[in-house]
């Protein structure tokens, strides 16, 4: 079932929470519209701070608001937020330990044809290397809502990123959820898919194809990249014939390389494939076309999976 965009769920959840908690403050960098926060601004004008196109300023102001007791959500396109304002994230949020939630909207290749200046395929890698920063990426509406609800009183610096396209319903509403604990969506011995964020949906569809050919697959939504749920990862890959990781991110420094470092250090040898964006001048196209091109089209994924274990 197709539901809403995670972006929309984020803004509705936040507005709902902020109605009952005047300490919740949103900071935007001319990103009110892109962040679907126009209604928030109309209904709660005293709880939204607009700093203009100034991401460094946005992040540092978030830190200051947090320091005097506000529950702060800094909302800006992930590309600009995490590259332009990286030093502010490092020093003013993470190192200074202000429990701000930084929301990277239109992440990955959400901006499609707008091209590489707007894509954020570096954000997981750069932020993983920053101490004291949690990184969370929801795969569907359910995870988005749970992350935003948890973020309000999370008490640690948090980065969350998502796209703006409607998403498949992956989880039941009674699914338990905790930041730092991945979710096993399907269990099967032949192959394990470890995916994060919206690529979980592509793995889900690939598994439907593989199941028709009698392959039994495990699917993990690794919504939290940091702290990484190493025990779920290790449990899920026991006795499997192969592992595929998926992420809407560069192959460098993301989920796949996180998994591979664990495998190497634990001396686990298995069939293993990282699917993300290679180190090249990227092809142009819509988000969907770009993901398809880089092996995330479900049929292509199913083929890669079969080849991996044959």
């Amino acid at each position: 079932m197709i539901e809403k965009a995670n972006l929309e769920v984020f803004s509705e959840t936040l507005l709902d929470l902020a109605r009952h908690d005047k300490d919740i403050v949103v900071v935007t960098s001319d990103s009110r519209g892109s962040g679907k926060l126009t209604n928030f601004g109309k209904e709660l004008p005293d709880q939204i701070i607009e700093v203009g196109i100034a991401e460094q300023n946005l992040v540092a102001i978030c830190a200051g608001l947090s320091a005097v007791g506000k529950k702060v959500f800094g909302v800006s396109p992930s590309s600009f937020l995490t590259a332009r304002a990286l030093e502010q994230i490092k020093n003013d949020i993470a190192y200074s330990n202000h429990p701000v939630t930084l929301v990277g909207i239109s992440s990955g290749v959400s901006y499609g044809q707008l091209g590489s200046t707007h894509h954020s395929i570096h954000d997981i890698a750069v932020l993983r290397a920053i101490n004291n920063l949690n990184i969370v990426i929801p795969c569907d509406n359910f995870e988005t809502k749970k992350i935003i609800q948890a973020a309000v009183n999370f008490n640690e610096p948090l980065f969350v990123r998502f796209g703006k396209k409607p998403m498949l319903k992956i989880h039941n509403d009674n699914q338990s959820f905790k930041i730092g604990k991945g979710i096993s969506i399907k269990e099967g011995k032949d192959l394990v898919f470890i995916a994060t964020g919206e690529t979980v949906q592509r793995a889900y569809k690939a598994i439907e194809i593989l199941e028709k050919d009698n392959f039994k697959c495990t699917l993990i939504s690794m919504h939290t990249i940091k702290p990484f749920d190493e025990s779920l990862f290790l449990d899920s890959i026991k006795h499997t014939r192969g592992i595929i990781t998926l992420e809407e991110h560069s192959e460098s420094g993301g989920l796949g390389e996180r998994c591979s470092s664990i495998l190497a250090q634990k001396k686990i040898t298995t069939n293993f494939k990282i699917i993300g964006f290679p180190d090249e001048y990227m092809i142009n196209g819509s988000q969907s076309d770009v993901l398809d091109h880089y092996n995330m089209e479900p049929k292509r994924l199913a083929e890669i999976a079969k080849n991996l274990i044959s």
Partner: protein
């Protein structure tokens, strides 16, 4: 605390700054000496921040954006009772919390600084927070003049103007030197007052090494209704020690045995003269 007591404190602070830099073998000597009178007046007359209220948000806040002058900050916080002199003397030692830039691991430090151009926007966030809750607290931040080349400073000023932050007091330690040389040669700042004015801020200039002038200017805050305040504090880099004053090499030079003895001597003489005045 009267003017003479404050002046005497400034001399003692300068001695402590030199002592901890000399004993630890590292530090930003001249910048700490240029801004210490400002910190003296802030912590002893204006801020009303001490160990008993520091853990509450409901108080004035101070962010030292020019983080490298940390020895001045550590010295004043020590005098205010945030920690002992013994603790302070662990500066730069292995596993000490007292590192070469402000860190919240040290009790009394508001925000981790060191990379320049950050503190102002953080202060803006705090000042907005107080305005949102209609709390009567002010936020003070100290910037170096060389720091003003960071573009993020000017982003912060625009937001300060937009939100009418008359509870924000930006102090510029205008000592006219940075690590490479004179600010006006490295990247000219003048006309500085006009720059701030054109950004919608209310500006006053003072002698930033005169505790009396500083007290008077802080008393005038807010300078104008609904306008953020800027104090251009004209200071002498290395103030108080004749051979350090206005010498660019002293940005982070550490005194040797001889220089340390001479510097303390000079400061002791200043103290005797002050007491005899």
């Amino acid at each position: 605390m009267n003017i003479k007591t404050l002046q005497s404190k400034s001399i003692e602070y300068r001695k402590t700054i030199l002592e901890i830099i000399y004993k630890s073998g590292a530090g930003h000597t001249a910048g700490s000496l240029s801004c210490i009178d400002i910190l003296n007046v802030l912590y002893n007359k204006i801020l009303k921040v001490d160990p008993s209220n520091f853990n509450s948000n409901d108080r004035n806040h101070y962010i030292q954006s020019k983080g490298h002058s940390v020895e001045a900050l550590y010295t004043i916080l020590c005098d205010k009772g945030f920690y002992t002199k013994e603790q302070l003397l662990t500066l730069n030692k292995f596993n000490s919390h007292f590192i070469g830039h402000p860190t919240r691991k040290v009790f009394g430090v508001e925000h981790n600084t060191g990379a320049l151009g950050h503190g102002l926007s953080v202060a803006v966030g705090m000042a907005i927070g107080f305005k949102l809750d209609t709390k009567p607290y002010s936020v003070f931040t100290l910037l170096g003049d060389g720091e003003l080349s960071e573009g993020s400073v000017w982003e912060g000023l625009m937001t300060a103007n937009k939100y009418n932050l008359d509870n924000l007091i930006i102090i510029i330690d205008r000592n006219r030197l940075q690590i490479t040389g004179e600010t006006e040669n490295v990247n000219p700042l003048e006309p500085l007052k006009e720059k701030f004015t054109s950004f919608g801020l209310s500006v006053k200039e003072v002698n930033g090494n005169s505790v009396e002038d500083l007290i008077n200017v802080f008393k005038e805050v807010p300078f104008e209704n609904k306008k953020p305040n800027v104090i251009i504090a004209n200071t002498i880099k290395g103030k108080g020690v004749s051979f350090i004053e206005n010498e660019v090499v002293w940005h982070h030079k550490v005194p040797d045995d001889d220089q340390y003895t001479k510097a303390i001597d000079e400061l002791n003489k200043q103290k005797i003269q002050l007491e005899n005045d």
